[in-house]
Symmetry: none
Subunit: 199 residues, 4 copies
DNA sequence: AATGAATGAGTCTTCATTCAT
DNA sequence: AATGAATGAAGACTCATTCAT
């Protein structure tokens, strides 16, 4: 399809994984090819340049990988619930799960989100616009409304609020370890469930 | 030796301002002394080193400036309201106002928040930890509870949610210009006001 | 990752050699990476940074190289003599030989000695403290005493004197070319031999 | 004579003094105008440039000052002794006294001696050649011979030896504080007195 | 497919010196 | 006589990228 051999794909995956870990550990500003090599025990930065056309292209792949992983997890969780209130709770808690199960990916996702905002990684826009998007959540809320479970004046704004609240709680949890993730997820769910039912 | 001249203060302010604009425009990772000089039309990066002991110190000053500006605006708005529901609304809308009136400061504040989160800027911790903190908001919510205006199970978590929601909405507005700030502020206020009253 | 290639060793040696020559010609204070590159006909100071972790590490290697070279020469000369008076003479004359055969190394050694004295080169202490030490000479003198060849009140002080005398004579010879090295070596040997025999 | 006012002379002296102290404390390589200003609590490096045509000229003056001070002390001590053996002892001990009484000057003298060797300070040659010279000592030894007190094959070489021995002992004392200066001076005097009497 | 040596632009920072005041 | 702001060259060092092998 893209004309790559099995070996090439494996190497690319290894480099992407190392980049994710490096982003998570030291942040974008210090994530150099050298740092990535150190992380993956690669012997030459030339290897990265050999497999990726440039730093932006590598970051693109990293973004795609991380977003896909988090998206899949979330979709699975949401699909398992039958009610929309249940789906909203699953949507929220899946982020905390992601952070718990794939902490490096979660931190890397934060970094990438920032990069997108800055336009620091040209060519990243299309891939990572998804990272900032709340479209899926909007749809969920709208369907919940149609099903009569929610009553929401403007689903788009609520979606923004929910998503921001989740991100902020996740970050605070990472930084300060204030409470266990489950409790945070439950309380956030409570808060927004209350909103969706009031007149 | 220690006190600063008028001229020095002016130059320092100019450099700080240029740094804020540069951060806003191209993000931290690309904010070099050279970029700052370009922004401020200075002829030599040596000038920055002449006025600031180092990059961390410059960033510290930038953080102080931005945080003070945003904090002052918010405090003023909140103080003008008599009810706690009013204060909550003012708290929320002040962020949108800040973004509207000082867009560069607002974007720079985002950058700095990231830096603090990554620990990438040594010596910034004390100044900018305030950027991540929601303490003021927690106090506001608690007082609102004591005054009988709010009923909130866990003010700390709600504060995290409110703050995250604001940041996310602000960000989206910057990026996608979805709605006018006033409407966003009003709707967010509605959402969280509803939460604070439900049983 | 850790072991060094043949090519690397060659480059490192070339850079070390160029550094020695540069130190000898223009002194430490002016020995910049740029100056070393000029000396070695290298195109970029980045090359030096590529092969050495930093300036202190380069200097360390230079010190090791120079000290080893001078130490080996001296040890060989001293070992060839059977009597302690002969050994003392060999010790003294080996310094003049070193200066004659490896003038750049000899001058560089002076520079490094100074650096150590000033503590200007961090991380050099252990390697180069040997440059200031007269321990070997003290041992030689003590053994000569035990063998009955010398009679010396305080070998440590005499060792300091001998070493200082040598260095000074070497220096003067470099600067003013007062006499041929052999004669200087012979006369110094005479002087100190006389001391070691008086009651 | 040189067309300088009293105030100018005072300032120059202050700067020279501060330079001596700075050289003594941190070595030549780190002795910048900034460092000198810090030492003397001067407010601007411009002041140094105002009073001295350049760094070499400042160093020249420093060298002159230090050499004069050490020379005067030595001459006084030597003149007080009536015998040549006494004069030789005074010559030796005066260096240790200098180090004790004016430690900064003594260390600065070392630095300057190095500079001269490197030719790092253009225009310093004539002044500081005296720092390396042993002419005075040669004369002393020769007169001692003529007076029948000494028997020395080559006074010039012995002078080099004596001077080198002194410098080395002084330096070691500074670094390692091995023995009290008086004892060192006495032992060196013994050593060289013995040389001067043997057949 | 991979290596690793090399490059050169770019990073922050220090420095002696200049100049208007 | 002195100040202090400014300059620009030079400092060590990092980085993504290239290329011969």
């Amino acid at each position: 399809m893209h004309g790559r051999t099995f070996t090439q794909d494996a190497r690319r995956a290894q480099i992407v994984q190392a980049t994710i870990e490096t982003l998570a550990e030291i942040g974008y500003a210090r994530t150099s090819f050298t740092a990535i090599c150190r992380q993956a025990n690669l012997s030459s930065t030339g290897l990265i340049s050999y497999h990726f056309a440039g730093k932006p292209q590598l970051l693109r792949e990293v973004a795609r990988t991380v977003l896909e992983k988090s998206g899949t997890l979330r979709a699975d969780r949401v699909a398992q619930e039958m009610t929309y209130r249940g789906k909203l709770g699953a949507y929220i808690s899946s982020h905390f799960d992601f952070m718990t199960v794939f902490p490096a990916h979660a931190r890397a996702l934060s970094e990438i989100t920032e990069l997108v905002r800055e336009g620091a990684a040209p060519g990243l826009d299309d891939v990572a616009r998804g990272a900032l998007s709340v479209e899926g959540l909007v749809v969920l809320l709208e369907e919940g409304c149609r099903a009569g479970e929610f009553r929401i004046p403007d689903p788009a704004v609520l979606a923004l609020a929910v998503h921001g609240a989740i991100d902020n709680a996740v970050r605070h949890h990472e930084l300060f370890a204030v409470a266990d993730p489950d409790r945070l997820a439950r309380e956030l769910t409570d808060i927004f469930t209350r909103c969706t039912l009031s007149p």
